[in-house]
Symmetry: C2
Subunit: 402 residues, 2 copies
């Protein structure tokens, strides 16, 4: 019997409990031993719940129980999760987490604690929910020079953008619907401002480089400023507007961004809708791989947590999961990012000739309103784009083109 504890009995933690109950036979077959839940840490009470007798309010009950081999942390937030996990790892207990904020901020310290304690630290569920992107990056794509990781890494915003695309609703209306369905949190800031996706792309970038990339290193732009007019232009362009997280690797460094992007129909991310997530990885040998599935949700994310538990129970060391060092990775200048841009400009479409002159090319997008028009710039650096935009009269906004 492989005994585990769960810290945090919320959406994901209770999903772990459900799967261990429902699929005990499969877990046993894959692990070579039975998985048992010995303790659940939560501040709340769950009267009448079948797991009630496993509940404790005291972390020491887990730390001091020698029968517990592995602890699943699904509490979220940096503290007390960090303090708990560090103590567990130093005491030689394996830790599995779904906590992206913790992995992004404190990953290197936790890998170090794991080494010091002779334990393993696993974090599959911290990025992409049920999509096994961590294990694919660490174990499967190992012969390639990875030059880009790109994806839709936040289900809440993808749901909102899908509603705005197909339902023709405003951002505010779509957010209300996301809240009603439980897809958005009461304070949706981390999702809609791109911070959640920013943490996830920082984790993936850290894995590729073996050095720490943090949220602060990622350029983040949220979706709150998008309007139905933007989506009209997108339809005109046969593109969809997605919140795209992107990391480009060059010269041993990374340039990472989360921002709304116009995604052409030819791009695999174009069709990813609702709360689904997708990650593409481009390597010099394997070309583009895409991984697609549920980026959130109780059972999908818990399934990823249990993949880590099975791995630990089998005694498989997460070799490349060794993770990254505390050295801060080389962060490339965001002004050197190169892409085309969709822009909206006020005034008559006759102004397009002036735009073509300024940008040295580009093409108009027919106006949805009399008082403005759209324009797609040639591919250029961000620095050049800003310099040219400064010369523009009537610049309203831009959306990068993926």
């Amino acid at each position: 019997m492989y005994q585990i504890a769960i810290m945090g009995f919320g959406t994901i933690g209770s999903g772990v409990y459900d799967i261990v109950a429902a699929n005990a036979d499969i877990l046993k077959q894959k692990s070579g031993q039975e998985i048992g839940i010995r303790r659940i840490l939560d501040l709340r009470e769950f009267p009448g719940h079948p797991a009630e007798q496993l509940l404790t309010h005291s972390f020491e009950d887990i730390l001091n129980d020698p029968e517990i081999s592995l602890v699943v942390e699904t509490m979220g937030g940096v503290e007390p999760a960090f303090t708990f996990e560090k103590q567990l790892l130093l005491a030689g207990r394996h830790v599995v987490t779904s906590n992206k904020e913790l992995v992004e901020k404190k990953g290197a310290e936790l890998f170090e604690a794991a080494r010091a304690g002779g334990a393993h630290f696993y974090y599959e569920a911290s990025v992409g929910g049920g999509i096994p992107i961590i294990r694919n990056l660490s174990d499967c794509i190992v012969a390639d020079r990875i030059d880009e990781i790109s994806g839709i890494l936040n289900g809440t915003t993808n749901y909102i953008l899908t509603q705005m695309t197909s339902g023709g609703v405003s951002y505010e209306e779509a957010l209300v619907s996301a809240l009603a369905l439980g897809y958005a949190e009461k304070d949706p800031t981390a999702d809609v401002e791109g911070l959640d996706a920013g943490r996830k792309i920082a984790i993936l970038a850290s894995m590729v480089l073996g050095e720490a990339v943090h949220l602060e290193d990622v350029t983040t732009e949220g979706i709150t400023g998008l309007t139905s007019t933007d989506f009209s232009y997108a339809r005109e362009l046969n593109m969809s507007i997605k919140l795209v997280a992107d990391a480009r690797f060059e010269d041993g460094g990374v340039r990472a961004i989360v921002a709304p992007a116009m995604v052409p129909v030819s791009n695999a991310l174009y069709e990813v809708s609702d709360v689904l997530n997708a990650v593409t990885v481009h390597g010099d040998m394997v070309d583009t791989l895409m991984f697609y599935g549920r980026g959130a949700g109780s059972h999908a994310t818990a399934s990823a947590v249990l993949a880590d538990v099975v791995c630990a129970a089998r005694g498989v060391s997460p070799a490349c999961h060794g993770g990254w060092s505390g050295v801060h990775a080389r962060i490339l200048d965001p002004l050197e990012a190169v892409h085309a841009n969709f822009i909206r400009v006020s005034g008559s479409i006759d102004g397009v000739y002036e735009l073509i002159r300024i940008f040295g090319g580009g093409s108009p997008v027919s106006a949805k309103k009399k008082e403005e028009f759209g324009f797609v710039t040639p591919v250029m650096s961000e620095a050049e784009f800003r310099e040219k935009t400064a010369q523009l009269d009537g610049f309203i906004k831009r959306i990068r083109v993926k």
Copy 2:
């Protein structure tokens, strides 16, 4: 230095050589040691090739070299690959293969030889080319009851079908173009009759059940009978015609089929075009995951071979790669498969009322020719479909609806 040998210096074998040369630093970082190629077995000569001095025509040069820890087999075909691999495994050498025919036919015997010899047998590149579907099934999707695996597993036929869809060309013209581009072999039978995809779905089904599923257990229908008229109807239905490999798991058994299918736009396989492959896996907890990428090609497939090499060099045992036993899996009756069907019927569209009566429902698809019309049946068992079709006058053909 981790010394390997390559048997078969064709498309994939030479790709392995290329990657070891080009990405030595990455392989070393991921494996913890340098990967060296010590011997290459091929019957041909490669005068002037940088690998020339590694070449041997004698298998004994590999078997008897104690420096070689692992052998990559990229020869294809059952013999002599099987005899060579069995000897190597029994002698304690790890084996990595891309040979789907061998894995499908002799997998269980090779797993057994590996156990007997204390070696590991890896086969990531045997299914899906560069897509890491084997490792995802064995290591990542381990907490789920898998009820369906479905995919486009053959690049040659997907290229031909894409040409027939978008280029409006005939099957024969598309095949000529596939041959010219090197996507089809001179004898394209294994690809176009669905045998290649059948072997691959048999391997994936064997992994899920832990018991052997062979090509003979898979219902296979090829693409040679498809015509431009079928594609006209597909456009009318807003569907694409794909060669879909599908395995459904029920009651500890499997029902597997490779056949042309009408794929609705809502299905993730709809958009998979050209030589790309995609595999979807449905589990009871994680829902649907999709893996997408290059299903063939020298470097993409060699990248998957090297994922296995790195795994072995790290000393990671392919635990669930333990594979499957020689016990023949329970094969479910193909007549109990349940799906809708697109059919073509000769005669005037007035005949549709008679069809609706016979099938107890269904809907017409507007005629592309005066002398026939299309019809989509309700969802029904294959047995029921055959029984009802026997009552039909003017039945021309059917294509299953995915």
